[in-house]
Symmetry: C2
Subunit: 245 residues, 2 copies
């Protein structure tokens, strides 16, 4: 049970917002980890010299955002970031496939430390030649290939990726543990499989494939870039959302 030190406000803007920023910073920096318990509202309001309602609003909104989990009498905890949002149900195959009752399989084809090519460097906002861990792997459901994953991890931010060993587990799970709280950006497009891709995915050359590109950020820095390719006819992804914004 980790001891959580007091946080400090920065004096900018509304107090509830300062509290939100301070708590978020602790979580994003990794000082507070998933499962850690926060001080109670009473403790926080005393140590920050604010009303409990103000602390309550801050923690309530962070809970809305999914950053915290709260249980009456038990307390407030840093959330486990294990339920990827909306579109991304598709992204972590290691979880999505068993969830549909299929058996999940994983094959690692490449796991190397490489210098960034110009194209990847640009996508990751890095200078060409920056050190990256490059992983290529396949995800299968009941033996059928459902996703080809190409991934580049920024070793400057996550040096551990070079020794992680992605031969039995995909990068998705490891990243979730190593850098749990991030932002992501997605791009979806369709391409015809070229000879190489067709061979890897086990489809006819020219077959339509769905490509999902994902960049994961910590602040302004790109932590990892992934290109996830799906045989078109075999996969689709669904998202449902409430009111417009």
């Amino acid at each position: 049970m980790p001891q959580i030190e007091a946080i400090e406000l920065d004096g900018h803007g509304p107090v509830y917002d300062q509290i939100k920023r301070a708590v978020t910073a602790q979580i994003r920096s990794g000082a507070w980890k998933p499962g850690d318990r926060l001080p109670s509202e009473a403790d926080l309001s005393q140590s920050l010299a604010t009303a409990r309602m103000t602390v309550n609003r801050a923690l309530r909104e962070l809970t809305e955002d999914g950053l915290l989990v709260r249980r009456r009498r038990a307390g407030t905890f840093v959330a486990q970031p294990d339920a990827p949002a909306a579109l991304l149900k598709i992204v972590d195959m290691a979880k999505a496939i068993p969830a549909r009752g299929q058996t999940y399989g994983y094959v690692c084809e490449t796991d190397d430390t490489v210098p960034a090519s110009p194209a990847i460097a640009k996508a990751m906002r890095l200078p060409p030649g920056a050190r990256l861990q490059h992983v290529e792997c396949l995800h299968t459901a009941d033996g059928e290939i459902v996703e080809f994953e190409e991934r580049w991890i920024n070793l400057a931010l996550l040096p551990g990726a070079a020794q992680a060993g992605f031969d039995t587990e995909g990068p998705g799970g490891w990243l979730l543990r190593a850098a749990p709280w991030t932002e992501a950006e997605h791009t979806v497009s369709a391409v015809n499989a070229d000879a190489d891709l067709a061979r890897r995915l086990g489809v006819e050359p020219g077959a339509a494939c769905l490509v999902l590109e994902r960049r994961t950020f910590q602040g302004q820095d790109v932590v990892t870039y992934a290109r996830l390719t799906h045989p078109g006819s075999r996969h689709s992804m669904t998202e449902r959302f409430s009111p417009q914004r």
Copy 2:
């Protein structure tokens, strides 16, 4: 300036939640339209016999959800649902294309009242043969085709669609006015263009195309079903979001 009548609470659950439901119901039902002004917090708290903080929380959360817009001194208004969420930037081409500085073009190819085919009926949760307005149209940017839209509108819910006339304006804009507040569900997939689709989109047969299917709901009922097809190489869509949930 429409006069807004008092709303009523239902006594179930927290008061702020009752207020949220009551306001949402007014908006979803169309009784309060985009741009309408709500009573002030002071008025509402008096007429509902609750504290202003409670009303404030309800309206603040609905504003978070994008249902309302608030301006100091001016008041609280039903939001204009004109900024489609995340993924859907791609959906309303009539807005997305000018926003990128390109000139937008529209061609209507079909606008008929038809009975629902079995496949469409299933997708729209309707009995086969139900009356639908069926529209097929093209969206262009700087003269190039960027989207082929096939749309079916449930005439039982929106009888006006039969007389709307989609020859100069796409169904997107009309629907936004006719049924502004809804929920939507999206599915993305990739297909190879068949001969017919290739001809319509002006691409080679077999070219990979991105297909976005969209079902729009009012409660449990499907208001409209759309299949939006994009020439793969020419289009992609991007979404960025903050912390996981």
